[in-house]
Each structure stands twice: as structure tokens, then as C-alpha cells.
Symmetry: C2
């Protein structure tokens, strides 16, 4: 272990979120986030007590001006050239860093045995010390304020001449800066397209840039999403070289899937590409639009992430950026459901990572967020949504929003309370754990009493004038299955009378289909899900998609596919939730998931819908699993131990040993 830059928890994420989310433009119009943003705090004091066996010299770097107090408050010592001599023996050291101009205070210090790491504490000088945070920044000259993703040069695959310029094709959905070499004269106007049509529609394409060739090498100021780019000279601008600096999250893909089912392979690969492009500083919703951190979208990304990158840094950054600072006055992203999803995900994060440090660090904020919700309950214990507050649930004209109480939100609140019970149990705060377990049970009873319709076999949508409206939607019932609210009998009824009933309005958004597919799998309908998933995503591939879309309606024709929000190219053609197949394949078809809270062991329950021949690789916590099927033979090799369940038979998979299992045709599906 060496020195890492440290900072006050949340400051790094606050600043990165501000920078990232301000990069959304619709043509020349900036679109900063529509929810509250926060500034970074200019002054932080870092502290550490320690004992040295021998004298050592500490090299100190900071993101701003700093002073050093040694052994007692107010005893300031000069640190010429950022070096401090320390004598042997016990010491206490405080380093106060002040940054002007929007930087957050960060500190790096390294001696022979003493160095900055997560063992340091820090304070905003608000009377409270907390553990400092860090994130893998070890270069003393690499101030984490300057963090940006790396770029990789790529030439366009092809170009064609168009009036006044060229249309470049990069061959697939991309994200990056455009670079012009030997540029001179006036400049260039750029029209970006996720589709060819968009790049050629100068009046209506969503993203444009006007570059002035005021120096020989000119690069666009903001990385943007595109496959095609039309570059049209402006004021006599000329250039000789053109390429893109593709901006990429440096995390490697940690999953692949190859089989005798080419379509499934292609769906998996494009889903991975889609998720990779949206895995940036944070889990974004889409790379063309909104380029924001939406909690609802991120919740699905946390799940997809466990079967693709297992990128816990981006996951933690995203969760931290979402929870903001200071007193809560509105829901996350201004959407009620999105606060609740975050609360549910908070415990889930531990379940998949065993990351106790993160849990402890952010538990106070979790408590504040939960309190914000709990303080908004009515006398039935239902979370109310006053008029004017945004209740999302799903895009669907059928889903009325004329109530103050929605079953969907109460079910998520139940999930949040269960999450709280889990969190406090892990923190050994047993009284709170019991309290939230009881609150969850009471709320479940209340939801059942008010919303369950025995006749219709599902949970109804909302309260109207104090009573259930009796309207049954898939969304509500899917969530009742996934949060564990529905009991066996209710699950059975929901499957039969809601999910398999074509008379119930279909889910049309990929966002909610993510959950609907998941619930169907939970209820044993993997065959149906495999069939529908393949058909749905094949539809986009057939239209030439190199990434999966925000929304896809097979009934639309031609350029109808590109339109959304009343704009010709408003639709994002690379949207994180389009990567659902990665989740479905890993979580449900392979049946891979943590066997315990913290993922020390895995559980693998492959389903019969998988191809006869496949080989794949998926991440486990800190390692990976490799699975190969050749007909009736299934080979499993994993970096940590777990259990495989095939055809109702259970086998131990020891860490680091290849295990060969028999998998007969006709074996029953997973039991989980």
C-alpha cells in the first residue's frame, strides 16, 4: 500500500457530478440538471495520530494552500518544498487544506511508513471528524480535481463527400472529442448523428458544434455521442487531418458470452457495448441524452454492472453523487420513486460487495434520506405525493397520475424499509433493525389490506378518495414480486392474472420491461422471457443498431424510430437500460448471484433456455467465473467457491478448481 490522495467524503463525487452533468447541450442550448446541485467545500482539515519507530520525512502535496499543525493545535510548522521532518515517537498531525475557485481540498502525503489513506480522518470544521475517502489516485502530481477519463485515438471507418464538407462514419456508436489537424481559415460546423439521418439533418440533429480554427490543432470542447458526424466548412475553414479522441471508462469488460446462438451472442455483445458507453464517470442514462445521473436508470445499472464490469468505483460514485448534501428538500432527481430506488439499492450494494466501509461511511446519509421519506407519510403509513411532485413509475398513458398515494411507491417504500432493516442489522444497531423490520411488515399489511384485489388477483394502482381505484397494472405487481412483498399465493396470482393476461396494458418501455422480465424469470417464466427478449432486441439489431435504445416500438417505421419528446431525433440510441440482456443472461439464465450477504460465495442455477453450446465469463466479487457448456457437460471454474444447482442437484464448486457437471436435457430450471 502506498499513499493515495484523500478528501472529505462526497466532495470528489460532488465536483465530478457538477462537471459531468453540465455537459449536456441541445444544439447550442446548455441543459444543466433540473435538480439541486451543490458546491464543494473550500476548506478541510485532515488529521492522523501515529507513532514512528524512526525519524522520517513526509512529502506533502495538496490541491490548494495548506498548513501543518504538529502535536498540538495551533503549533504550525513550516513545510519548505512540501517536506516535513518527523521525529521518532508519537505524533498527531493536522493538515488544513484550503482551495479557491471551485476545487475540493485533497491531500497526498508519503513518508517511509506514514502515508495518506483511508485511515486518516477529516473535518469540514463543523465539529465532526469522519474517515477520509480516497479513490485510487496515487500520483503525487495528479490532483484528483483534474480527474478525467482517458481518450484513445480512432479514425473514422469511412467518409462520403456532402455539400460543403464530409460525412464521417465511425462504424458504431461512439463517444468522444473530434480533432482537426492542420486546421486553418475560418472553422467548421459539426452535426452529430447517432443515426445517419440525424447527422445529415442539419436543422434538427440534436447535437452541433461550431469550431473556430484559431490554431492548427482544434478539438471539440465536450465529448459527445455519435456514430456519424457531418463536418461542413464555415468561413473558408480547411483541415488536413481528422480523427476522434474516444473517451472511455478504463475499466475492462469482465464478461463475455459465446454460443451456438449467434443472435444471443450479438445481443449480449451490443448490450455490453451499450453499457460500456454509458459507464463513464458515473452510470449515465444515455450518452447523447440526458448524460445525467438519474437514480432510476442507475438502479438498473448497478445490477447490470454486477454482470459486466463489476466496477464498484463507478457504482459508489454514482450512489454518492445522487444522495447530495445538506438537508433534503426534494426527492432525488425530483422523482419520488428515484429516492426509494436509491434506498433499496443501498443495502443491495452491500449484498453484492460486502463493502462495509462504504456502508458505514454513508449510513448517516441513508438515515437522512429514509427520514425524509418517512416524514412524508399519511396516517395509513403511506408515502404521499402532493400535487406537483413528480411520480414517475413508468411512461404509459394508461398509468394515471391523479392520486396522492400510489401502490407502486408504497411497495418501494416497503423495499426501502427492508433495506433499512438490513443496513442497521449489519451495523449491529439491532433496535433500529427491528423497528424497520416491524415497520416494513406493518406497511406490507397495510398495502395488502388497501390495494390487494382478490377478484382481480393483483395489487391495484392508487387511492382515489381514500379507496383503492381497483385498476391493475403490471408495474405495481412486478414491483410487488421483486421487492418480496408478494407472498407465494399472491405471486402465483400475479403471474396468472396480471403478467400473463394480455388484457392488462402491456409494458412498452425498456425501463419497466427490465423489471417485468426479471419478475417473470423470478416466477419461472424464463422460456417466455428468452423468447421475448430475443425478439425485442433483434428488432433493433435488424435496424442496424450498434447499441440499444432508450425506447423501441417494433410497430414504428423508418425515422419514426429516432423521434421522441416531440423532436425528430430526441430518442437516445444508446441508453444504459438497453443493456438489460446482460442482467437477464447473468442473473436469470445463468442464475448467478450471491449466496450470502456480501458475496463471499456465489450460487449458479443455469436455466434450460441457455444454448446447448456456450462458453462465457462473468465477474464475481474480486474475481471471475468461467462456464462452458458442451451439450450435457457443464464446466465451471471460479475464483471463489460457490454452489451450482443443476436439475435440482446441488454441487459444491471449490475456488480455483474446474468442476465438470452433468446437465441432461429436460432437467428442471433453477430453483431460486
Amino acid at each position: 500500500m502506498g499513499a493515495e490522495w484523500i478528501w472529505y467524503p462526497g466532495e470528489f463525487e460532488t465536483q465530478a457530478a457538477n462537471r459531468v452533468q453540465a455537459r449536456r447541450f441541445e444544439r447550442e442550448i446548455p441543459q444543466p440538471p433540473i435538480w439541486q446541485t451543490f458546491g464543494v467545500t473550500p476548506c478541510v482539515k485532515f488529521a492522523r495520530a501515529f507513532t514512528l519507530k524512526a525519524p522520517e520525512r513526509l512529502k506533502i502535496r495538496a490541491s490548494g494552500i495548506f498548513n501543518v499543525e504538529l502535536d498540538r493545535p495551533g503549533q504550525f510548522v513550516p513545510v519548505p518544498d512540501g517536506e516535513l521532518e518527523l521525529s521518532a515517537g508519537p505524533h498527531s498531525l493536522s493538515i488544513t487544506v484550503f482551495c479557491g475557485e471551485g476545487k475540493f481540498p485533497a491531500l497526498w502525503a508519503e513518508g517511509k511508513t506514514l502515508f495518506t489513506d483511508g485511515e486518516w480522518h477529516c473535518t469540514l470544521q463543523d465539529g465532526r471528524f469522519v474517515r477520509a475517502d480516497c479513490g485510487g489516485f496515487s500520483d503525487p502530481e495528479g490532483d484528483p480535481n483534474d480527474w478525467k477519463l482517458p481518450v484513445r485515438r480512432r479514425e473514422p471507418d469511412a467518409f462520403e463527400e456532402i455539400e460543403g464538407g464530409r460525412l464521417y462514419d465511425f462504424g458504431k456508436e461512439s463517444f468522444g472529442f473530434l480533432c482537426f489537424e492542420n486546421a486553418r481559415g475560418g472553422g467548421v460546423r459539426l452535426f452529430y448523428g447517432e443515426s445517419r439521418e440525424e447527422a445529415l439533418d442539419f436543422a434538427c440533429c440534436e447535437q452541433t458544434d461550431l469550431l473556430t480554427f484559431d490554431r492548427p490543432f482544434v478539438r471539440t470542447p465536450i465529448a459527445k455521442a455519435f456514430r456519424w458526424v457531418a463536418a461542413v466548412g464555415s468561413g473558408g475553414g480547411k483541415y488536413e487531418g481528422f480523427y476522434a479522441d474516444m473517451e472511455e471508462n478504463p475499466q475492462p469488460f469482465r464478461a463475455d458470452f459465446h454460443s451456438d446462438d449467434e443472435l444471443l451472442d450479438r445481443i449480449f455483445q451490443v448490450a455490453m457495448d451499450t453499457f460500456g458507453l454509458n459507464t463513464r464517470e458515473f452510470f449515465l442514462d444515455g450518452i447523447k441524452r440526458d448524460r445525467w445521473i438519474w437514480s432510476g436508470d442507475a438502479t438498473q445499472s448497478y445490477l447490470i454492472n454486477k454482470y459486466s464490469f463489476f466496477d464498484l468505483q463507478t457504482e459508489r460514485r454514482t450512489m454518492v453523487a445522487l444522495c447530495g448534501k445538506g438537508p433534503l428538500t426534494r426527492h432525488f432527481n425530483t422523482i419520488t420513486d428515484y429516492t426509494l430506488f436509491w434506498l433499496v439499492s443501498f443495502y443491495d450494494h452491500y449484498r453484492w460487495t460486502g463493502d462495509r466501509a462504504f456502508l458505514e461511511r454513508w449510513a448517516p446519509r441513508f438515515g437522512e434520506v429514509l427520514d425524509f421519506c418517512l416524514n412524508r407519510r399519511d396516517e395509513n403509513g403511506f408515502l404521499i405525493s402532493p400535487q406537483g411532485e413528480w411520480v414517475f413509475i413508468d411512461w404509459s398513458p394508461a398509468l394515471t397520475k391523479d392520486s396522492e398515494v400510489y401502490a407502486f411507491l408504497q411497495i418501494l417504500l416497503f423495499g426501502a424499509l427492508r433495506s433499512a432493516a438490513g443496513v442497521y442489522a449489519l451495523l449491529d444497531r439491532t433496535a433500529e433493525a427491528s423497528r424497520f423490520e416491524e415497520e416494513a411488515a406493518a406497511l406490507a399489511g397495510q398495502i395488502r389490506k388497501v390495494f390487494w384485489s382478490e377478484e382481480k388477483g393483483g395489487f391495484a394502482h392508487s387511492l382515489l378518495e381514500g379507496s383503492s381505484d381497483g385498476r391493475i397494472f403490471r408495474q405495481t405487481n412486478v414491483m410487488a414480486v421483486l421487492t418480496g412483498l408478494a407472498d407465494e399465493r399472491e405471486r402465483e396470482s400475479i403471474l396468472r392474472k396480471v403478467l400473463l393476461d394480455p388484457g392488462i396494458p402491456a409494458v412498452t418501455t425498456p425501463y419497466m420491461r427490465f423489471y417485468e422480465f426479471s419478475a417473470l424469470c423470478e416466477l419461472g417464466e424464463t422460456a417466455k422471457v428468452m423468447r421475448e427478449m430475443k425478439a425485442y432486441f433483434k428488432g433493433m439489431l435488424d435496424l442496424g443498431a450498434t447499441s440499444f435504445w432508450e425506447y423501441f416500438d417494433p410497430g414504428e417505421q423508418g425515422s419514426e424510430h429516432f423521434a421522441m419528446y416531440g423532436r425528430k431525433y430526441g430518442k437516445s440510441l444508446c441508453h444504459a437500460w438497453g443493456a438489460a440482456p446482460v442482467w437477464l443472461l447473468g442473473r436469470y439464465f445463468l442464475g448467478l448471484l450471491p449466496e450470502d450477504e456480501g458475496y463471499d460465495r456465489f450460487r449458479l442455477c443455469p436455466s434450460p433456455e441457455l444454448p446447448e453450446h456456450f462458453s462465457c465469463r462473468f465477474p464475481l466479487k474480486g474475481t471471475e467465473i468461467r462456464i462452458r457448456r458442451e451439450g450435457e457437460s457443464l464446466c465451471v471454474f471460479a475464483g471463489r467457491s460457490g454452489t451450482a444447482v443443476i436439475g435440482g442437484r446441488t454441487a459444491e464448486i471449490p475456488a480455483g478448481e474446474e468442476v465438470r457437471l452433468l446437465w441432461k436435457n429436460g432437467d428442471p430450471g433453477p430453483d431460486n
Copy 2:
């Protein structure tokens, strides 16, 4: 009225306070504030609804990127070159400004009839709109983020050669940047001195700079306090021109005093200079040190200000910077008394200004600050100071700090509750006004019951093991007089048995003498105060002071006067509270004060200690008063009407008319 830059309330002050307070250095060691600092919020939405009689073009400038929504949310309109065409008729306009890199969002917009001003509203996107703030910035190219005080060039009065360089003398206490022209070679080392001794003591002077002559014109990066500067060449550095850019608050002095008492004139002038130097972006404590915004010091500055600059912008800025943002976790400046002084001053500000807009804008924060204090009371209703919290009261070895409950703080809390009653009465929140009036009365009763000693004739110091310690100090009793807690009988007793009793430990700090002198004047001891004030401040003048000091002990000798905090030159020789004579002369000797809440009328009650011949000028709210005494004739001319009380006789002074009054020798003193 034209367009002004507008911003979210508090953001301007937050940023300015961060910048100003990070400029304290002790030699090369930075000394950022020891209390919590806050970042500016990067995104603010500004909004205005209006109706235009005719179309007009709005010119828009912002401190960051911005977008414009016209007439309905989400209807973004392009604003090429920052110009927006508006049609006749009703409109609603939202402009969202996002700033990166530590700027706060500010907006300037100007059309023919529509322009940015305090009528606009704004939100942090936290679900709440508040009125936008502004502060006199009307230049569209003058982003208020770039605000700095103007400078004025001044040459040194004299210099003398010293080894390796020169010692420059600017003739009097100053504050500014040092400038070197035609600089070349290596550089220069600067040693600043408020005293000649300090500038020549290279090893121990408090402020130094090392400049590198990397270009022909070099200026020090931070304005500093000095009268003398030693400039010593470093690495062969040479220069031809040398001067200072003196940084000044551009507010004009609005008071002067000339009389046949030269000493009094000189004291008044030096006090004005002292206060002028400390009146910068904010009311600072001292210009050499700490250069910070201390609430205790600022409280006296608010009072002095009413008799010198009547600079309400700096006063408001200071009050706003002090109250911070977000949930309070510690007292202002980490000092319990300092929060209470702010609460008392909040109502006082209205009393002297009638500034209802400020009152309304900051009343919510006032409420939060008050609640923070009220939530820290024990079962007696006393504000407790847990061990580890800083209770200042006064520097005095006699004042023990071994309790959790100090009478001084309870008396200030009484003042704060009275302030609250006044604030809520002005806001027509009568229930709260009554509640706080009652709470104040109850607390007064409790203080009296627990701390008043009939035998010793004063209020005791603290609680020890639940009972009064019976120790009588001036500080406690001075505050009982000034807050109005002490009744007639108690005031009488406090005067006789505490303030006039040499056996009670003397007040030695100018900070507390400010209040002691005030209380003595309130109790009719103007003659004693005039005598002691003149003697005390003459002591500093006799030592060559051109500004008044943080602390002065006539018993000290030579360079002992410069030492403090264990450092040879630790003492500030230009400290705002040294300007007490301005306050005493205006408030007590001239007896000038608001006759009503809001200062629509003044009251003037000159005391017999004033010289036989004098002429003076003092600010009134929005105007001024001029007074001239020639023996028994007193001429008064004021820009607003008021009452003069001389020798028990009352005279009406109409606005804008010179009134001549008879003032016989032997007339009794003021009746207020």
C-alpha cells in the same frame, strides 16, 4: 433604476468571504479560517413574470452558461449573442445559470422596461423560490464574481538604506499591494511592519513575501497591512520604481469632528482611520491579523459604522457571511457568545436602517440560528456550553471557564430573545413575537433568581455544581445593563457596587471596554468615560500610533507593546474595535440615535463633556446631520427631522432647516 446583476441570496457573500478569509498568512504559512466554510452552489434558476406593452429586446449576461425558458417550462429558446426578442403581452421567463469552477451563478438582463433587479425570484432547484439579491453591480461586463476593491497608487513618504536593500516608510498604517517597476534579476524579499521594529526584524516579523522578478512589473499577490516595508534584494534582484497600490473600501467617510480639544480631534481621526482600514469587503477584526470575520468584532463594527460610514452594504455582507449555510452544527466562529451577538444585532440592524427587505430575506436563517441556540438549553432554560465549546466573554485571567452555564451568555440569550420578539413583531408574526417576549421575561426571571446577589449588588459569573459561584465581574454586569435586563434598582447597584468599585477586576481589553464605557455612559458616567477614553487612547498616540490597537496596556514598555500570543509582533496595531471613540462620541457624547424603530427620526442629546467649541458631521440614515457649537449656541442641521434634547429641554429639528439652540453651561446631561 437600471439592470443590476442578481444572484441567489448569500452566494455573493459566501464566495467573497472564502476569498477574503483565505488571505491570512503568518509569514509563509497560510491560515484559513478555523470554522466551517461553504462552497457556492453551481446552478441557480432565475424567474420573472411580466407583461410587456410593446415588444422589446432583452440583452442577457450571465456568470456561466445559461438557458432560457419562455412562457412554459421546457420551452427553451435560443439567445444568439445573448439577445432575446420578447413580444408584447404577458410572459414568464426562467433563466438557468450554471457556473463551473467555483463561480456563483449571477445574471444581468436589460430590456426597455424589463431588467434584472430585486423583483426577480430564484431557486437552487430545491423546490423553493426566494427573492433574488443584488448589490449595486450594474455593468453588464462586470461579473460580480470578479468583485474586488479598488486600489490607489501611493508612493512611500521616505526610505532609508538598510543592509541589502531599503526600508520604506508610508507614514501611516496602510493596506495594499507593493509594486516593483523595471524589475529584473532575481527577486526581492519583503518584510512588513506595522512598527518600524517589526519591519526590521526579518526573523520575527509577522508578514513576509518572496517575489520573483520574472517580468518587469511585479506586484505582491495579496494586499497586506503595513506602515514600514523592508525590501531586500534576493539573487541579484533589482528594480527602479517602487510604490504601493493601496486597497480601499470606496465608501466615503461620512463623519468628522473638529473642536478646540486637539486631543479629542486626533483620537476621533485616528479612530476613523482605524475603522476605515478595517472596513473592507467585510468588517474585519484587524488588517494584519486575523483578517477574518469575527462576529464579536463585527458587532462593534456595526455600531461604529452608524457613526462613520453608515455603510449598509458592508454591514449586510458581514452579517450574511457570518450566518453561513445549511444545518448549524457549531456556533459562529466556534464561539457561543458570537452567535448570540449576531442574533442581537439582527434586530438592531433594522432599528438603525428600517431595512425590511433584509429582515424578511434573512428572517428564516435568523430563526434557524435562534433554534440552534434554544435547542441547547438545560432544564432551567439556560444555554449550556459543554466542555470543549469555546466561550469567549473576554480575555481575562480572572474570568474562569470551568462551568457549563455562564450568566454572561444567558444575558446575551435574553437579548437574542428580545431581538426575536422584535423581529417577529415587525413581520406581523404576533404569536411568535409574544412567545419570545414571554421567553425573554421568563429567562430574565431565571437569571435574576439564580445569579443576582443582593449582597454583592451584581449578577454573578457562572454556575458551579448547580449554584451561583457568587463571583462578580464587570463583563456580566455591563451586559446586563446594555441588553436592558437590569432594572432601575439593579442598574444603580451595578454602577455603585461593580463598575465604580476598584476592587472588582478591571476590564483590560479594548473589546470589553467598548461595552464597559457604553454601560457607564448609559448610567450617566459620561464625564468619567470622557476622561478615561482620552487618557487611554492618548497613550497609543503618544507612542506614535496612526491607528488604534488590538490591545493596549499603558504599563508596558517599548517593544512589549507589539507582542501578543507569545509572538514578538503578534499584536494587531490596527484593530476595528480600537475605533470605539467614534461610537462613544456619536452615540453617547452627542447622544445621537434613532428615535424610532427604523431611524425615520433621530434623537440628539449632547452631553456636557463635549468641548465648548466644535463642529461635526455624522451620518443619519440616507443623509447626515451637521452640528456646530460655539459656547452657548448649538446649531443643528439635519437631512431628516428629529428631536434635540438639551438641558432637559426638547426641541424639534425639522429636516433641511438649521436650528439654533441655547446650551447653557451647567445644563444637565442627556436624559436617554
